[in-house]
Point group: C2
Chain length 228, copies 2
Amino acid sequence: MSAARPHAPLALVEDVAARIREQIVGGHLRPGAHLSEQALSKALQVSRNSLREVFRQLAAEGLVRHELNRGVFVATPDLSAIIDIYKIRRLIEIPAVSRAYPNHPAIERMEAALALAQSCREKGDWIGVGSADIAFHAAIVALADSSRLSAFFAKIAFELRLVFGIVQTPEHFHAPFIEQNGRIAALLRGGDMPAAAKALEEYLDQAERMVRGAYDRLHPADQAKTVP
Amino acid sequence: MSAARPHAPLALVEDVAARIREQIVGGHLRPGAHLSEQALSKALQVSRNSLREVFRQLAAEGLVRHELNRGVFVATPDLSAIIDIYKIRRLIEIPAVSRAYPNHPAIERMEAALALAQSCREKGDWIGVGSADIAFHAAIVALADSSRLSAFFAKIAFELRLVFGIVQTPEHFHAPFIEQNGRIAALLRGGDMPAAAKALEEYLDQAERMVRGAYDRLHPADQAKTVP
DNA sequence: AAATATCGATTGTTCAACAATATTGCGCCT
DNA sequence: AGGCGCAATATTGTTGAACAATCGATATTT
């Protein structure tokens, strides 16, 4: 719980923000949970003022929602968020793969993420598999060589990890994607961009179906919300 | 200069953030300028702590850059930023137009922005023309019906307005785009999405050339920066 | 039971203080 | 004169306490 890091010259606020981020995407802070200023400032050993700076940053990143006079709450992705996220992933990732340069350095990052996912699977660390999956697709976005686009995807990825938290059986959920990612990487390495793009499309279709399935299982009422 | 708004229940921090944003994109705060906490807190009549919350938010939005122990500075777009921004605009806007639904409500927003641009041109308000141009292309992004994508473009648009600030002769710069935008809107209204996408591509090519030209005129040394 | 008054807890905002770091300016030496 | 080190100064980083404003829940009244 110590906040002061003796020989780390990084800023306190950034550090606390990173720690809260981890708590959120790691599932220790559930979506919708209220982040009390007093409780957190005591737990993390920082002043309320500094904590408020952290909150502003996390709110701008979309990880928490700030309600006036009510405090901040962990963001709660809904069905429209899931739809939106996969729409954006298609828009960004498919052209990134289609137009990728042969032997782009990001391909190595993809293969590294793939190896990490396999090692996590062997250890039964399914949350690690999910993180590696996201790292793999962040590498795909890096094929586009755009720092702003990668930063945007990183933000989307945080929300996605939040969404992953609703999945009840991660072993069943993340396992098939390792193989699909492997196929994408192999096709890219071989220089067959159109085939890689097609494989990526299938991945995204299946991933969205599975996430939406998990969501519907948790919120059975949400489908027919229009016209009660 | 009054900060306290009697009957406006909005948050103070958001208000101050909006005001500083305007100062930046309006050119009153030049790129690279140092934002002193003491000076600004006195000028805007807010405490240093509240101002720091504003800074965190603006930094997360990319409008200012936060350097540890040195304060915050107005972001300074460089050549790579310009290249990156237009790469992203192509990636986002062209598919948005190509895949637009006929008679999408955003088309009305485009036409409204167009009318605003024309009215601003008649009044000689070239900054207004530039803002209307950006509003037009924000409407193009809205064709994709993705709230996250629109928010991302809004962030890019802030940077773009910052870039516009380097243009010396805005009347020469923004004038031709009114006609090009008009052609895009007309083709979209007519349902010819491929032609609209082609016209948009031409717009983006020309806009990038002109912005880069303006930038090179200001920073003649920047081109041959590789291998001195 | 419904509307209302009240109270406690939480957030919103400010201020003053001190520590840590950066910038400035000055004297000093070569 | 010109560069260097060092103290003096200004700025940022962070905290704690204080008070106003608002929200939530409980108790009271009708």
